[in-house]
Structure formats: structure tokens, C-alpha cells
């Protein structure tokens, strides 16, 4: 009998530190999965489906899911979580989910899954947080940059992005420079009920370009294949970033298209690490002033299943990434609103960027998700400006 919901046990029990990671990756198992849940104990998986599936389809779904579980769980080691700051218990006045209120006020208008237009309140909050991040950039004398939204495929290939994050890529193309193809498109293009264009795939040019998944990559590519002129670079930029997250794209917590402000350091190891730490200390004071409830803890990037075990282990062992996790009181959970990152000399080696002694440059960045900052703030302080910290109230009203 066809099923709309399928419950089964994973081949290997999923340890508690991997439950969230595995659950998020199940979004990519099959397009018929509407929602995937792993029990907190890691002993049961439930797949909720869009369309009823017969037994062969269920068997295939389960087999693909077990592949994900095996790949991520077998041989996984528990990361040692290092907490640098813990202010999660800071008193905040609000505890409701802001999503429905944002919708009701017209502050978010969903255009498609993970794509939102933001209204005046969110935009003012983002401008305010941007001013704080620009002050941080100024303390380092960071030079301003503007980076494109598009990024060539060959750039991402050079830094191994296709292996590490294939699931989140967003591709860009255009109609071939061919009169027949363009004429045909202009006369026949229409959207199917699911929103997809009815255009034949061969109308489009080969995929050579993607939407950029990160801000700092553009700086590294601009510095590639030559020595750093002054031995070190400090830059800042804000940019659109794109990470497709399938059914995980819910509310402002996870957007396909979001913006990040970054402060980026390129140079010798100590230069990068010292500045990363100085940035953290600066932001610790800023977050105290605006009353944000958060903690800073070690983390890893959301590598895809084949690379997850290796790369997450490496990142965790060397403490390369620390996330700023803001409290979401309405779900007694937290959300990464920023991160302090150190890439060692990965980009220096891959892109042949050298410091004056001829060795590969080290890189690091501090990054803030602007929509998530505003969302976390409203989750903690709500919509009544009287309850907001004075600085934010004055800046946003």
C-alpha cells in the first residue's frame, strides 16, 4: 500500500552530536521528501512525503537515506566543543516566533521558497547592524570592496567547492546567443504550474557561472597568483550569498538568497589569528551593549556527506571556525548569526597567494548574516520598540 510517511531505524545509531547534521542532509535524499525527522536518540528516522510511494520507491528512499547515515556516522568522532563566550541566559523580553508577525505586518514577502523581500523595519534593523559591523571594519582600517553576485565555475573548482558543498550550489545560465533559440523563447516561454519554465534545456548556454556562496572568496581570487603587494590585506564588503537548502529553507532562519557583511584578513598566520581574536573581543562589547543573548562556540561548515567526516573533523580539531549563536527563545534553540573563521593557508596554497617571505598567505574572516541578525533580534526583543535597547530604538525609529 502506498505510503505518505515512512518510519525506519538507521543502519547505525546516529550519535546525538550528529542528529541535526544528518537530519539537515536528509533534505537532499529525494525530491519526494517533504520533511525528514530524526529522533533525538538517533534511533528512528521518519520521512514525510509529498506523494504516496509504493514499496519499490520506499525501498529506494530507505536505501538512499541509509547511504547518508552510513557516510556520516561510520567512524565519526565527537567534536570537542569549545565555548569562548556564553551569554545565552541574558534576559530578553520576547519569546514568540516572529515569523507570523513579520508576515502579518508585510515585513517579509515570500517570493519563492527561501526568497524574501524585506520591509522597512527589517531593513532599518539591518542598516543599524551594518553600521556596527562597519565600525568593526574601521577599527582594522579595512579597505572597502564591492564583489559581484556571480562567480565563475572555474574559481569554485579551484578551491574544491564542488566536492565540499555540491548540494548548496546555485547555477546561472542564459539563452544561447542564437537567434532561433531567442525567438523561440520569446514566443513560447511560460511557467508550468510548479513555476518552472517550459524552455528546452538546449536553449541555454553551458553552465560556466554560479551565484556566489560567500563574500570573501572574491577577495582571495582577486589576489591569486601573485605575492601580496604589502604582505597583508584587510578588506570589508557586503554581498549577496546563495546556498540552496531544499526543504530546510524555512523563514529568515534559512534563506536561499541572503546577505553577509565580512571583514577579511590575508597575510601571515599571526596577523590573521590576532585580528580574528581582536574582532571577537570587539564584537563581544558590541553585543553586550545591544543586549544580545548569544554564545560563541566552535563549529564546522555544512560539508556534504562524502566530505563531512573528513572536513568537519579537521575543522573541529584545529578550531578553525567559531559561530556566534544567538538565542531563539520561542524554540529554546539558537541560530548562527555570524562566525569567526580561520582557513590556515588553504586559500594561499590553492590560489598561489604569497607573503613576502615566499610562503603561502593565511586567510580568515569574520562574517555576519544580516537577515539572521535582524531575525534573532526580533526573536529576543519583539516588535514593541519600548522594550528595545535605546541605541537600536533611536537608530531605527
Amino acid at each position: 500500500m502506498p505510503e505518505l510517511e515512512h518510519v525506519f531505524a538507521p543502519t547505525l545509531p546516529i550519535p546525538d552530536f550528529l542528529v541535526g547534521e544528518v537530519q539537515s542532509k536528509l533534505a537532499y535524499v529525494d525530491e519526494n521528501i517533504r520533511q525528514a525527522q530524526v529522533t533525538p536518540a538517533g534511533d528512528r528516522i521518519t520521512l514525510y512525503l509529498y506523494r504516496p510511494a509504493d514499496q519499490p520507491a520506499i525501498t529506494e528512499l530507505e536505501e538512499k537515506t541509509q547511504r547518508v547515515v552510513l557516510s556520516m556516522v561510520k567512524g565519526a568522532f565527537k567534536p570537542k566543543v569549545q565555548v569562548l563566550e556564553d551569554h545565552l541566559d541574558r534576559l530578553v523580553p520576547y519569546s514568540s516566533d516572529p515569523h507570523s508577525e513579520l508576515l502579518a505586518r508585510g515585513e517579509i514577502s515570500p517570493e519563492a521558497q527561501g526568497i524574501y523581500t524585506l520591509g522597512p523595519l527589517l531593513s532599518r534593523l539591518i542598516l543599524y547592524f551594518e553600521s556596527l559591523f562597519l565600525e568593526l571594519a574601521d577599527t582594522f582600517g579595512a579597505e572597502p570592496y564591492r564583489f559581484p553576485t556571480l562567480i565563475p565555475a572555474r574559481y569554485l573548482e579551484r578551491v574544491n567547492y564542488f566536492q565540499a558543498f555540491p548540494h548548496s550550489l546555485s547555477f546561472v545560465t542564459h539563452l544561447r546567443a542564437d537567434l532561433d533559440a531567442i525567438d523561440h523563447f520569446s514566443q513560447h516561454a511560460a511557467c508550468e504550474p510548479d513555476g518552472s519554465l517550459n524552455t528546452p534545456p538546449d536553449s541555454f548556454a553551458p553552465l560556466q557561472t554560479l551565484l556566489s556562496p560567500a563574500v570573501c572568496y572574491h577577495l582571495y581570487f582577486s589576489l591569486a597568483d601573485r605575492p601580496l603587494p604589502t604582505g597583508k590585506v584587510t578588506a570589508t564588503a557586503v554581498g549577496n550569498c546563495f546556498r540552496y537548502e531544499a526543504i530546510n529553507l524555512t523563514s529568515l532562519e534559512r534563506m536561499w538568497n541572503f546577505t553577509m557583511r565580512e571583514v577579511i584578513f590575508v597575510g601571515p598566520k599571526d596577523f590573521v589569528l590576532d585580528n580574528r581574536e581582536a574582532a571577537r573581543l570587539h564584537m563581544s562589547r558590541v553585543f553586550a551593549e545591544i543586549g544580545l543573548a548569544y554564545r560563541v562556540e566552535s563549529a564546522n561548515d555544512p560539508f556534504f556527506i562524502g566530505e563531512f567526516r573528513k572536513q568537519a573533523a579537521f575543522q573541529s580539531a584545529f578550531q578553525l571556525k567559531f559561530e556566534i549563536r544567538a538565542r531563539l527563545p520561542f524554540k529554546e534553540s539558537s541560530l548562527a548569526v555570524g562566525s569567526y573563521n580561520y582557513h590556515q593557508d588553504f586559500f594561499g596554497r590553492r590560489l598561489n597567494i604569497t607573503v613576502p617571505d615566499g610562503t603561502p598567505a593565511h586567510t580568515g574572516c569574520v562574517a555576519f548574516g544580516l537577515e539572521r541578525m535582524a531575525y534573532a533580534f526580533l526573536s529576543q526583543y519583539g516588535f514593541d520598540p519600548q522594550g528595545w535597547p535605546a541605541a537600536i530604538r533611536e537608530a531605527c525609529l
Partner: protein, 84 residues
Amino acid sequence: MDTDETSSLSQQVQALLVDALGVPAEQVTPSLAFGDLPQWDSMGHMEVMILLEARFGVEINAETITALTSGPAIYAYLQENGHA
């Protein structure tokens, strides 16, 4: 210490690095360390760790990942843990 055993272990370490990093044996010098070859980057390092686990039963954890970053360090670790 038995000279043959020492030689054997050092040969095993060299063979492990050759296989994990995918480089010719002549590039794996006795003092080779993480970062000395383009192949021994973060991803290469984890290939080294996975092969250490498979061939010698070395547990992959934060301590071993950060400590076993050179041929001599791997050799010393294996020797201390009864592989020589």
C-alpha cells in the same frame, strides 16, 4: 630497539604517506610535515588520518588530528603505541 623493526616501521610510515597523499616515494622525505607538499593540505591530512586508522587502528580525534602532522610525529606515535 631492533634496527629491522625501526626500518620496517619507518618504511610503513613512508608507504602510508605515499598512499594517502598520492605522491611518489622520493617526495616523502624523512622529515616531511603537513604543508610541505601541496598534497598534504587539510584534505590530504585527513586522508593520512583515515589510512592511519585503517592500517594501525589509530583513533581519529582532535588530539591525533592536531598531533600527527609530520612523518616523525606519526612514527613516534606508532612506536609509543606498540607498533615497533
